[in-house]
Amino acid sequence: MTRKLPATDVVIVGLGWTGSILAHELTGAGLNVVAIERGPWRDTATDFPPAYAQDELRYRIRHDLFLRPEQLTMTFRNNANQTALPIRSWGSFMPPNGVGGGGVHWNAETWRFLPSDFELRTHLVGRYGEKFLPEDMTIQDWGITYDDLEPHYDKFEYLCGTSGKAGNIKGRIEAGGNPFEGARSREYPTPPQKQPYGPTLFAQAAQEMGYKPFPQPSGNLSQAYTNPLGVTIGPCTYCGFCEWFGCGNYSKASPQTTILPALIRRPNFEARTQCEVSKINLDKSGKRATGVTYVDTSGNEWEQPADLVLLCAFQLFNVHLLLHSGIGKPYDPRAGEGVIGRNYSYQVTSSVDAFFDDKIFNPFIASGSIGMCIDEFNGDNFDHGPHGFVGGGYMGAVQTNGRPIQTARTPQATPRWGAEWKKAVAKSYLSSYEAVTHGGCYSYRDVYLDLDPTYTDRFGRKLMRLTFDFHENELKMSTYLTDRLAEVVQKMGPRQLEKHPRRGHYDVTVYQTTHTCGGAIMGVEPKTSALNRYLQSWDVPNLFVMGATAFPQNPGYNPTDTVGALAYWAADAIVNHYLKSPGPLVQI
């Protein structure tokens, strides 16, 4: 028996980065906003105080801050010839849960995408010709340009207080920044974080090789900063318990440290936590959302009617809700038709381990996004003609942590246990270093999300099924990037170096990144995208869908800066256009 609640102007599904941003912008425009969040309320002082936040076992190994697979998981297979089986415990990616969403536990690596990333297909076909691309690659242009998004990138970075060094201000190349980035309207809000020994050595080596290293843009702040909402963020203390953890210092940009203290005071905002939206409701025409149905912790079902529905859950769960709500045509890989579940993409990462005799790296002095990087091999920053693949990634010495259960590394030839292992761990912990590549992952016809025929969640709904494997293009890219990275690391003078390019089948048990993308992508026409350029559903105009769900493919950067920028871009379209005349913002 579903109980109906009084209507509100806006209902938001999920109170993470995008939900918080949209709630702030739309309450600011005078609308009544209700945000419904599946997980608990979370805040710095109550949930991750520095009394016990630095607990590797609890947060990194036992996944305390994340969604419990029992509550909702998905099934996985590498290809359609296999039977998908449930992801019984998280491995490759970590779906968030609770207020703040992924913004609580992210590294805070705050990258903009390249201008060419947004017009990827046009750009690559123009430079290399149609035949250069693999036949089954389904990459698309986004329907927006970098210039469209720039003011919104700027807004998100100034909300976060991002620490970095601009490489390109209004077309002027700046020394010390990333010379490949799109033009920024101004410098970063705060200067870069300080760099430990490893990144400093890496940058020296890269410079000697003619590359242009720069500090990774960071949402762990180099100094205290008060953002335009009047919320103050503290300086990062390089504690080394950042990604996978909540920040006990108020120094990692998150909804908690940038928006929620201001948002919660607004009388026209309300959050409901531990309430799981099970469905977006449609009227008889199927072209208008009437609100959402959610379930509280007693199992009571409530209907929350609303004029505007904003889907702001994590990427995977946005797609899951669209499939269950019957919004948009589910993708069929055989016909290559349909849009919900189409163009899933991920991230292709790799590493180089280096063992030294004479160096002390102190890996525990770290932040989620400290580090020195190079961008010479990202996107289309280099000529792919001779290499037979497209795409790339950034690479560098990114010192995120020295947490020993996870990172006490030994040379490959060392036994995994016994006296020799023990000696090698003791010797290697302070004197070894891992550098990484962070490569893009383009989309393909046979990589997609749909509903599983067998396994169900606790409401009896079909789980979502992920069909994904790496393709030759990405594996070639990973080998090439890892080789380039190894050349730089070799210059740092290690005794021994080990390359770990991404190889073989995608393995859902091994952590890589939580950058799952796509499934309800933005684009220029309803035939090949679920959303228009304003992230508005083509099928249901009073529904907007946020997050990396909208990425047609994934470039070689972390997604959050773009996720935040797209939320501001969509909020701007809603406030300045949609509210004046509710309906489709793009006519076809």
């Binding site: 608990p40 309320w41 109550t46 991750f48 520095p50 630095q54 607990d55 590797e56 609890r58 947060y59 036992r62 996944h63 697979p69 029992e70 509550q71 996985f76 590498n78 296999q82 449930p86 415990s89 430990p196 203390t237 504690c239 318990f241 990604e243 929620l260 919660i264 959050a271 409901r272 936590t273 531990q274 309430c275 379930v295 509280d296 912790t297 007693s298 009571n300 590493s351 002390i360 102190n362 002095i365 020295g402 020993p404 259960i405 990172t407 006490a408 995994r416 246990w417 292992w421 023990k422 003791a426 912990y429 169900t456 606790r458 770990h500 089948h505 859902v508 048990t509 091994v510 890589q512």
Partner: protein
């Protein structure tokens, strides 16, 4: 960003404290976000029906001010050495012998047994990790590809119990009625290598999977915060030079190639 880990994904959930007061349910008008609200992290459910234990969080309406409650994040409860919480005496002795070969004692650093790894594993198996709390444990169960991860219907606690019984049977059959504990160090190592390489077949369970669990959990016990019963006196941290639960390195980030001088601390402080 990038982490290389063993293929087997051994997860579970941090210990939950017993339930406290509950807040109003998720309907408007029952907004309660003042003191007295205690919430719990986990929604406990069974396959198709919603059943809630005393430790589950309640839905909450938040409006007007940030909720605040003491210990909302359930600080960890310290583990103390003492009687086994999960293992039988024989199982406990076998685990102590196993962890002492995985991480053997040497003149500089104690081995797995004296570091508390067996106590750590026992308490983990007695708690939410052992019962696979929060994991998706619904059938149908089928063996998949290695890339699809562990598909066993067994909880970690059940897996240990089954594997230790099978190991005992194997040792007694192979080494003239001796248990694992009674073997020489060389014989113990031979058995462990056999488990690791899949050459030692255990009855009714995978010796290799058991080895992976055991190795992962032993390393956890050696390197986790001492509050969980392992890493006794922070021996694991001292061995490698990890300062533990310290939270501020601003004075040290630019002191390159220098050894950090302070001893480690744990969540509960340090003994000296």
């Amino acid at each position: 960003m990038v982490a290389k880990e063993i293929r087997l994904n051994v997860n579970g959930i941090g210990k939950m404290a017993p339930g406290g007061d509950s807040a109003g349910e998720g309907m408007p008008g029952s907004s309660r976000s003042g003191p007295g609200v205690r919430r719990r992290e986990l929604l406990i459910t069974t396959a198709m029906t919603l059943v809630f234990s005393a430790t589950s969080a309640r839905a909450l309406v938040v409006k007007g001010s940030l909720p605040w409650a003491t210990n909302a994040g359930t600080p960890p409860t310290a583990v103390h050495p003492g009687p086994w919480a999960y293992f039988t005496p024989e199982e406990g002795a076998a685990i102590e012998a196993l962890v002492d070969r995985l991480i053997p004692p040497d003149p500089q650093t104690p081995g797995g047994k004296d570091a508390g790894c067996a106590v750590f594993i026992d308490r983990q198996l007695a708690g939410s990790f052992g019962s696979a709390e929060g994991l998706y444990m619904h059938g149908p169960f089928a063996d998949g590809t290695p890339q699809q991860g562990d598909q066993s219907p067994l909880t970690p606690a059940a897996r240990y119990r089954q594997a230790l019984a099978a190991l005992d049977k194997y040792c007694r059959a192979t080494y003239s009625a001796k248990s694992f504990v009674q073997l020489s160090d060389d014989e113990k190592d031979k058995v462990i290598v056999g488990l690791e390489k899949g050459q030692v077949q255990l009855e009714g369970t995978s010796g290799r999977t058991f080895f992976e669990y055991l190795l992962q959990n032993t390393r956890e016990g050696f390197f986790a915060d001492p509050v969980y019963g392992g890493n006794r006196d922070m021996v694991g941290w001292k061995m490698i030079g990890f300062p533990g639960a310290r939270y501020d390195y601003r004075d040290w980030v630019e002191r390159h190639n220098e050894r950090y001088p302070l001893p480690p601390v744990g969540i509960a402080g340090r003994p000296e």
